[in-house]
Each structure stands twice: as C-alpha cells, then as structure tokens.
C-alpha cells in the first residue's frame, strides 16, 4: 500500500512537471518487424524528447517471452524498461507476476486514454482497476497472394470465397506453376490456420469469460477438419516463419494467409518482388461467412524494474497513443494500429505501389468491425502446446475425425488447467 501511495505521489509530482524535462535511456525488447517499426518511431519521438535515448533490441518472438518471464521470475533482474507482450500470452504475466509490471494509471494513463483503444484489445491487458499494458497493433487476417501465379493459372482471386474455392484454386495454380505451393503452414511449431479459421467462425480455445474450455465446439471441429482437407489436397507445404520468407522471395509459394502485420514482412523482406503481390480477404467455410479474423497483435508494458518509468511512458504515449506514431509503424512495417483514430488517417485509403496500386489497408482494416474477440487467458501457452500435439496427430491420421481429436484436446486442457469443458 505504501508503495502504491508513493508511486501515486510520484506520478502527481511528475505529472505537473513539463514533459520536456524527461531524459535518460530506455531499452525495449521486441521481435521481427515489430522491433523494426519501433525503431522507425524513434526519430519522431526524439523531436519531442531529444534527451531520451531509445534502444530497441530485436530478440525474436519466443526468446522475448522466455527472457521476460525468466526476468519476472527473478524479481525483475535483467529486464529492460519496456517489454513487448503478445495479447494472447498477456494474462500469463499478470496472473503469475502481478508486481513485475507497472500499473500505467500511476504514470498518467487515464480512462479517456483507455477509451481510445477498442475493447477487444484491452480485455487481456487490464485486470480489475489496473492497466498493465497499452494496446499496440492487431492482426486482421488477410490472404497475401502472388498476382503472376494466379494469372498464369487463370484464377481470379475475387472468386475465392470459401476454403473449398481456395483448395480448387490451389490445385489449378500448382498445376500451372510447377514448383510452387498454394500456401505454407507451420506444421512443426504452430496452429495458425486452425486458429484463424476457428476465430473467423467465432470459436476459441476458451470461452470469453475464461472460465471454460470451448475448443471442442462444432465450429472449431469444422475448422480443424478443413485444415486436414487442405493438407490432404496437397496445396499446403510446411514452412516455419523463416522458411515462409525464403519461399516468398524465391517464388515458391502463391499465397500466405496471416495477420495484417504480415504486409510489412512481405514488403520489406521481399522488396524485389515489387508489384507482384496483392491482397484478398481470407476465405470462409461458407460463402456467406464473415471472412474476418484476428491473429496475433501485441501491446507494450513497462517493467517495475525500470529506472526510467516516466521516460518509458512518454515513449508509449507517443508511439502507441498518437496517430503520428501509429501511422509511422503502419507505413514502414505494416503494423495495424489499434488506436481507433489512426484508422481514419488518409494513408489508410491510399493505393500502395508495392501492392500494384491496391489500397490494401482499406480492404484489410474493413474487416476489423467483424472480428470476434478471442481471449487468450493465462492458460494459453498450455492449451496451445496441447492443440499443437493433437493437430500433428490428427493430420497424421491418429484420430478417426476432428471431433475425436478436439475432444481429446479439451480433455487434456482440462487436466492441465482445472477448467471445465463446456458441454
């Protein structure tokens, strides 16, 4: 209690001090294009705060989580000032280490500031009256495709409305372009297709209140069934994050289905394929499906171990809380703002040269209102590893059908978490 009070007092004192008085060094842990985009905002930030030196360290996705968790477990030793936290994994931090991160309210984050972000981005970041992190980007799913491969096979992307259309198109495209796979999935270490299709259908591992397991509900069963159909049809070849990028550049894949943040990955990693790529909405299970889902998306949290919390908060305020910061990241690396006001920026409706003049953001962001929230809960990493094992076994023919596979997954998640399976 005494600590909270003194923090609040500190916040009051600092709140009244002029902002330009901030100085010092802050360090941020992040990964891939997310790290690159943070670096891109530093120049703009330093115009306002020339005395704050920002260092962004790109550790890679999993190592960031591993090192941050280890740091929290060690009482904050070795942690940077700001940590990137994926929304799906966020609750794991707060539930185990409620003191590892600063309640942003103590640094001046007001209820009005919170309202600038959509609810579905905030549910996992706020516990009771505490706000542990500020929402950053979201991942509205889209299909990124190679125009030349589709044209050669005479496939019009506008005609792909369902995953069955996608499979049929894939067969044509692979026949017309030898050595090219219709799409890639990381069957070694991810379940991205299952999660995207499930979310699009409104099904998640856990119920929205986080109190029961819903992974074996009919919509999830349909999603997993479709993943196997796609694999059995031979239109999916397996590739992890790095191999997907290699495939994009080498021209051995026709489509990547991923969250909107993948726009920046394709544009920057495969810069030589300028003008060859395009975007269409993700397919659905039925021709009247919503064709909108979310995959990934992160937030930034300030560690209690930080020696420069106020400077760190200034950085958050600029990078995540202003249109300028958010649009810089969208422009440079395709990170989709969750700051609602940024979505009305003129840049969003512009045709982009890399994408052959297509206004890709208008298409991708148009799906946002239809996205159903999917709560990670503190058991996400447990559940994910179980679903991964079940998916591997199911794809190899280890279960009679997807229902049996997901019933088994639900049973295992129940054993691991103590939560009931929703029946």
């Amino acid at each position: 209690m005494r600590i909270t009070l003194s923090c609040a007092a500190l916040a009051l004192v600092l709140g009244s001090a002029p902002a330009f008085a901030q100085s010092g060094e802050i360090t941020i842990w992040s990964w891939n294009v997310a790290a690159s985009s943070l670096k891109a905002t530093v120049a703009g930030f330093n115009k306002l705060h020339p005395d704050i030196k920002v260092t962004v360290q790109d550790l890679g996705n999993q190592p960031t989580y591993d090192k941050s968790i280890a740091g929290c477990a060690a009482g904050g030793v070795g942690l940077p000032d700001i940590v990137t936290i994926e929304n799906g994994e966020a609750e794991n931090y707060w539930s185990q280490f409620p003191d590892c991160f600063v309640d942003l309210h103590t640094l001046g984050y007001t209820a009005e500031d919170q309202k600038k972000f959509p609810d579905f981005k905030r549910t996992e970041l706020e516990v009771g009256d505490k706000a542990y992190a500020m929402p950053w980007d979201s991942g509205p799913v889209a299909a990124f495709y190679r125009r030349d491969f589709y044209e050669k096979a005479g496939v019009d992307p506008a005609s792909i409305k369902t995953w069955d259309d996608f499979i049929a198109a894939g067969k044509k495209i692979q026949a017309a372009n030898p050595g090219v796979s219709m799409t890639n999935a990381d069957f070694n270490g991810d379940t991205e297709f299952f999660r995207m299709i499930s979310n699009e259908q409104g099904c998640a591992y856990f119920a929205e209140d986080g109190q029961s397991i819903t992974v074996s509900e009919p919509k999830c069963v349909d999603a997993l069934t479709k993943v196997k159909e796609m694999k059995d049809a031979g239109i999916v070849s397996s590739a992890d994050w790095g191999t997907k990028i290699t495939n994009n550049t080498a021209g051995t894949v026709a489509t990547q289905v991923y969250g909107g943040w993948y726009e920046g990955t394709i544009r920057t990693e495969s810069a030589g394929e300028n003008g060859k790529w395009g975007v269409y909405l993700m397919p659905s299970l039925t021709s009247d499906g919503p064709r909108a889902a979310n995959l990934g998306g992160s937030s930034l949290a300030i560690t209690s171990a930080s020696k420069n919390k106020e400077a760190a908060y200034e950085y958050l305020k600029y990078t995540l809380g202003t249109n300028e910061g958010q649009i810089t990241m969208l422009k440079e690396f395709g990170l989709v703002p969750s700051l609602v006001s940024a979505l009305n920026d003129p840049y969003v409706s512009q045709g982009l040269p890399y994408w052959g003049g297509q206004a890709v953001w208008k298409d991708i962001l148009g799906t946002l209102p239809k996205v159903v929230p999917s709560r990670g809960t503190q058991f996400q990493s447990d559940a994910e590893i179980i679903v991964r094992a079940v998916q591997t076994k199911y794809l190899a023919g280890g279960y009679p059908d997807a229902k049996a596979a997901l019933d088994d997954a639900a049973k295992q998640i129940a054993a691991a978490t103590g939560l009931p399976v929703k029946s």
Partner: protein, 286 residues
Amino acid sequence: MRNRNATAYRFLAPYLLIFSVFWVWPIISSFMISFQATRTVPWRFAPGFNWGRLIGDPAFFNALKNTLLILVIQVPVMIALAMVMAVLLNSPLLKARGLYRFAFFAPVVVGEVAYSAVFRLMFSLDFGIVNKLLNSIGLPKIDWFSNVTPAMALIMIAVTWRWAGYNAIILLAGMQSIPEDVYEAATLDRVSKLKQFFHITLPLLKPVIVFCLVLSIIGTMQLFTEPFLITERGGPGGGTETLGLLLYRQGFRSLNFGYASAVAYTMAALAIAITLVQLWLTREKQ
C-alpha cells in the same frame, strides 16, 4: 581431535555455505513446491494437484516415451558405430591417422547452437541439401520437421553425428591398452580376425564400453538442445519433446513451477533407477 575437526570445518565453511544455498536449499524447496498448486497466485498446498496430474498426463508419457525411444535406439546404434570407427582407426593400414582422429572428434568441439542451425538448413524441406540428394537418387522429399517419425530420426541422426566420434576416441584408447601379445598368440593359433574381435577385443573392452554407455545414457536423459533448436522446441506437436523440454516448458513457459518440480523429481528417480539397473547388470561376477 575435536579441535582439528573444527579447523577443518572452518576451512570448509565457504564451500558448505555455497553448497547449502545453491544445492541443498533448491532441492528441498523444489520438493516442497511440487506439492503446491502453482497455477494461480497465491500458491496453495495441494499434494494431489501435480502428482495426480503426472500419473495421467499424456504430455508426460509422451516425453517419457520419446526419451526412452532415443535411449533404446540411438544409444546402441551410436556405440556400435563408434566401435566400427574405433576399429578402423586402430588399423595399422590407416594413413594420416591423426587427421582422422581429429575429424571424428571435431563435432564435439562445434558449438551446439551453430551445428543445430546448420542441421536445420541441411534438412530444410525445399532448400536443404539432404532432400536435394534424396531427390537426385529418385527418392521423394521428406518433410523432416512436420512429421513425428522423420523429426525423431533427425534428432537421433544429429546426436549420433555429434557424439559417435567422441565415443570412438574413448573406445580407441581402450583398444590400444589391450596388450599386443594376446592378439599375437591368437594369430599363431589361427584364430580369424573376426573371432579375435568378438572373443578378445570386446570382452577386454567391456569396462570402457560400459563407461561410454553410462555417459551416453546420462546425456540422453538430459537431452535438450537438439530438440529445442533443431525441431523447434520439441516439435512437431511434441513429437520430439524430451523430459528436459517438458520440464522447461512447464516451468518457464507455462509458469507452472509446481508441476515442473514434480517432473524434475520423476526424472531424478528415473535416472537413479536406470543407474541401479545398469550397475547390477554390469557387476563383476565373483
């Protein structure tokens, strides 16, 4: 006498202090944690929570099965291979022996992370040299990382590559300590080279082989780096997850310290059991 002991203990004190803080205490502490439900803060005492889960947890039995599978298949294959290499190295016909010895030993010197990265590249589905070679002799490509059996085979290949030469050098040292006159006598009695190997070399080498086996079994029980780095944290879907990886995942990814401690104690018990069986099997007959 008592005085002398006291002096000795005073000299030992710094070590004993460090030993009790960094060894004894964690061992006791993790034992106590294994009886607590650590999924939610605050932790509470619930003996059945972790141990009850362990008994019926498919992930635990999967990791156990994977570890034992490597133990039963990879270790004997590697020792046999090491034996062949040692015999070849020991041949008087061999030129440039030093070079070969170095070449066989070199994998151990290579950093684990570096060699894991190279194996990932070599076995990559579309761009790896292994699949290119398979293709060039008319075999289909293998998706090494996405199917359980090839992924497991890959881990075994990698571990064998790294440690076979090391064991061969140890076996070679053992072979060279067998007196030459035993072989001379056998040759005079017209015993074939093959029979000499099975009836002289192998029995006399037994202690060295046992030593290699013990080292390899301990190594397998602790196997972590290869499935962590090469098959991406025990992928696909836990297909190459070992006990060490399961412990790490439960403790430091799911933050389930209680369950991780229970797994750790089970691993320790298992290692003790295997060691006892080994000692009993290889005991000197009176």
